[in-house]
């Protein structure tokens, strides 16, 4: 067995690699979106694909998101596996009807005859100093739409593995790419990418005994940092990275919470009506008698995403997470 030296790569590079490998492996895989061809996408995730596979495989579309997703539906109906890029989270909204009324429902309304194996890549979230409409966290909308899978990577390796899994899936997948992790680097072996796991498994990123931080995507590194900082306060925090919001891995999450007895859900999406409500509710339903305290939520405020100069106050940071951990009724222990 030869060992290959691990090389650092960014999440954006891993995503590019996943697209490239998927296109090479299956001629049915087509990439389409705004500026994905010659430019390689505004985040350069599709860089080189048009050159390597031709413009018919990686296509610059007219500027119309409903049209992009709608034509992708038609392409999937004919047996292709389209991978659509939305340029920014808020610019996916024009395609909402196609997503909710067709992408999510086509398999069901044709009783399985017309599955839509398509992937919608959406860069999401803030923290990159974007001006208005460039930093929305829209996962709550997609989670509330049965028929979609919703996944989001937090590491370079997962970016590759989950995107391959999304493209391989016979169901439509909303693939949420945390913008502020695009340039995060990790040692990763691009020669030997991990086998494609099916979508739907959470992973424990850090084990701990005091309480569980349940999180995903851009908030995973923040929670890991918070867990490190918490040691000083005497807390040993476990961090669960959901990776897949739909399907939801109750098993992994609940096993952790039953062990620790306390949990905080952390995400940068708004709190009210956001993913955290669902997560807290289902964990409570399943682990009620193991809980020493209510499951708390640390999330973005329920305001339109703020301008760059204020975003640090909006985003859940280490301090806010630790404050929530402190409110987990530790006195009850004594």
């Amino acid at each position: 067995m030869t060992t290959v030296a691990l090389k650092p790569a960014t999440m954006a590079q891993a995503l590019t690699r996943a697209l490239r490998d998927a296109m090479a492996a299956d001629p049915a895989v087509h990439v389409l979106g705004e500026d994905v061809g010659t430019l390689g996408g505004v985040f350069r995730v599709t860089d080189g694909l048009a050159e390597e596979f031709g413009e018919d495989r990686c296509t610059d579309t007219p500027l119309a998101e409903a049209g992009i997703l709608g034509t992708a539906v038609g392409m999937a109906m004919y047996g292709l596996r389209p991978v659509v890029e939305m340029q920014f989270d808020a610019f996916a909204y024009p395609s909402f009807e196609q997503l909710a009324s067709h992408v999510a429902k086509m398999r069901n309304r044709t009783r399985g005859k017309l599955p839509l194996p398509l992937t919608v890549r959406i860069p999401y979230g803030g923290g990159i100093g974007g001006v208005e409409h460039h930093s929305d966290s829209s996962e709550a909308y997609y989670m509330a739409t049965p028929g979609l899978h919703v996944v989001t990577p937090a590491t370079v390796a997962d970016a590759y593995g989950l995107l391959r899994a999304a493209i391989a899936s016979d169901d439509p997948v909303v693939f949420l790419e945390p913008k502020r992790l695009y340039w995060s680097k990790d040692s990763w072996n691009p020669q030997d990418p991990r086998p494609v796991e099916p979508i739907g498994r959470a992973v424990v990123r850090r084990t701990g005994r005091s309480a569980t931080l349940i999180t995903y995507g851009p908030s995973v590194p923040v929670c890991l940092e918070a867990a490190e900082a918490a040691r000083a306060e005497g807390w040993d925090l476990e961090v669960v990275d959901l990776r897949s919001l739909v399907p939801f891995d109750d098993e992994t999450v609940c096993a952790s919470v039953r062990r620790t007895g306390r949990a905080v859900v952390v995400h940068e999406s708004g709190s009210f009506g956001g993913p955290g409500g669902e997560i807290a509710a289902r964990v409570t339903e399943r682990c009620f008698h193991h809980l020493e305290a209510p499951v708390l939520r640390v999330a973005g405020f329920d305001v339109p995403y703020p301008p760059p100069m204020l975003e640090r106050h909006h985003l859940p940071g280490v301090d806010r997470i630790l404050d929530a951990v402190a409110r987990l009724q530790w006195e009850a222990e004594g």
Binding site: H30, D56, T61, P62, A64, A66, G67, L69, G70, T71, A72, V73, G74, M75, A76, M77, Y78, G79, L80, P82, P94, E97, Q98, S101, H102, M106, R107, N108, R109, T110, R111, G112, K113, L114, P115, P146, G147, H149, S169, D170, D171, G200, V246, P247, F248, D249, D250, E251
Partner: protein, 379 residues
């Protein structure tokens, strides 16, 4: 170089590289809807085709009245009748080859049936049981689309995909006059033209979107005039003239198949019935208008042509009518049988594999059904 020195350099010029990309003239529709019946061109039409169209129209009309009757008997949840529009419905189906794809809207059950789908399967959605009763792949017919105009980009994507694969397939997509106001109409036509996708858009301008008349829907000279804005030809046709619609659509399909790109066809027709059985059309239009259109009925128009040219004898008429009656009787009979539905199917096709969450809900329903059955048994 100072401003003053530029003096000599003064050369007026158009913007660099400016050139119109297509000549607009051939893209514009004629001022009048194209007609064949009653004109000299009709004499050149193939009698076989005329008779075939006629039989389809008569059957189609009967299908419409039968389906409407079934709503009154509670056997259909809703039926948007295409009475008065049969020429468009039939021509759309007949203009296509078997390998082509049809993208119908919710009003186009008749086109779906004319394409060869089992009439009961075609009504499954409107019956209120399963959703799309037929297999779209088998019949190369997309599910009836209810959200207006959303099926148009699907048609474009499918046609584009077929072309990329080197397949000789054309998609024909149907939409109403109201549907042309939706953003999806615009985006679909634009993609089709930019990609030169082999797709034909058939707008049935039946004068109304539910209660809203065309004049409140658009101020355009005609809907076909929208085509030039995408760089595709627009064709205007009398939608009640089955021969004319068939010819225009067949041409457009041939053009698309030959790599000529998309066409927008506006068929001027009229919805004789109310929007659906649930609608009361007297609230928004007068009898006189409807009567004028009854005289321009697609079945009558073709009948007159055939009779005028001595192509129709009483025997043929009787045979065609009997065939239509038999179809209606079979439909009535089959629709009177209750559909057998399994509530557990609610979960069967949401995903390829149900998620763990759905499995929990499945178990809940299974338990409820078992309890119900037990209660029912105990009684």
């Amino acid at each position: 170089m100072t401003v003053m020195e530029q003096r000599g350099a003064y050369r007026p010029s158009p913007p660099p590289a400016w050139q119109p990309r297509t000549d607009p003239a051939p893209l514009l529709p004629d001022a009048e809807p194209y007609r064949v019946l009653g004109t000299e061109a009709a004499a050149k039409a193939d009698p076989e085709l005329l008779r075939r169209l006629y039989a389809h129209l008569v059957r189609g009309r009967r299908y419409n009245t039968q389906a409407t009757a079934l709503t009154k008997q509670g056997r259909l949840a809703v039926y948007p009748s295409s009475t008065g529009q049969e020429a468009c419905e039939v021509a759309a189906a007949l203009a296509l080859q078997e390998r082509d794809w049809l993208f119908p809207s919710y009003r186009d059950t008749l086109a779906v049936v004319a394409r060869g789908v089992d009439p009961v399967q075609a009504l499954t959605l409107l019956r209120g049981d399963w959703h799309t009763g037929y297999d779209p792949r088998e019949h190369r017919t997309a599910p009836l689309s209810t959200p207006l105009a959303t099926q148009l980009p699907h048609a474009v994507g499918l046609a584009h995909a077929a072309r990329l694969k080197g397949d000789d397939v054309v998609a024909l997509a149907m939409v109403g006059d109201g549907g042309t106001s939706e953003g999806d109409f615009h985006e679909a036509l634009n993609f089709a033209a930019v990609w030169q996708a082999p797709v034909v858009f058939l707008v049935q301008n039946n004068g109304f979107a539910i209660s809203v008349p065309l004049a409140k829907q658009t101020a355009a000279p005609s809907l076909a005039h929208k085509a030039v804005g995408y760089g595709m030809p627009g064709r205007l046709v009398d939608g009640n003239d089955a021969v004319a619609v068939h010819e225009v659509l067949t041409d457009a399909v041939r053009h698309a198949r030959a790599g000529g790109g998309p066409t927008l066809v506006e068929a001027v027709t009229y919805r004789i019935d109310a929007h659906t059985n649930a609608d009361d059309a007297t609230r928004y239009r007068g009898d006189a208008e409807v009567e004028a259109w009854r005289d321009h009925d697609p079945v009558k128009l073709l009948e007159r042509e055939l009779s005028g040219r001595g192509l129709l004898d009483e025997d043929t008429v009787t045979a065609v009518r009997e065939d239509a009656e038999a179809m209606a009787a079979r439909l009535r009979e089959r629709m009177n049988q209750d559909a057998a539905l399994d509530p557990m199917d609610l979960f069967a096709h949401v995903y390829a594999e149900p998620t763990p969450q759905l499995r929990e809900q499945q178990a809940l329903l299974r338990a409820e059904l078992a309890a119900e059955a037990e209660e029912g048994g105990a009684r």
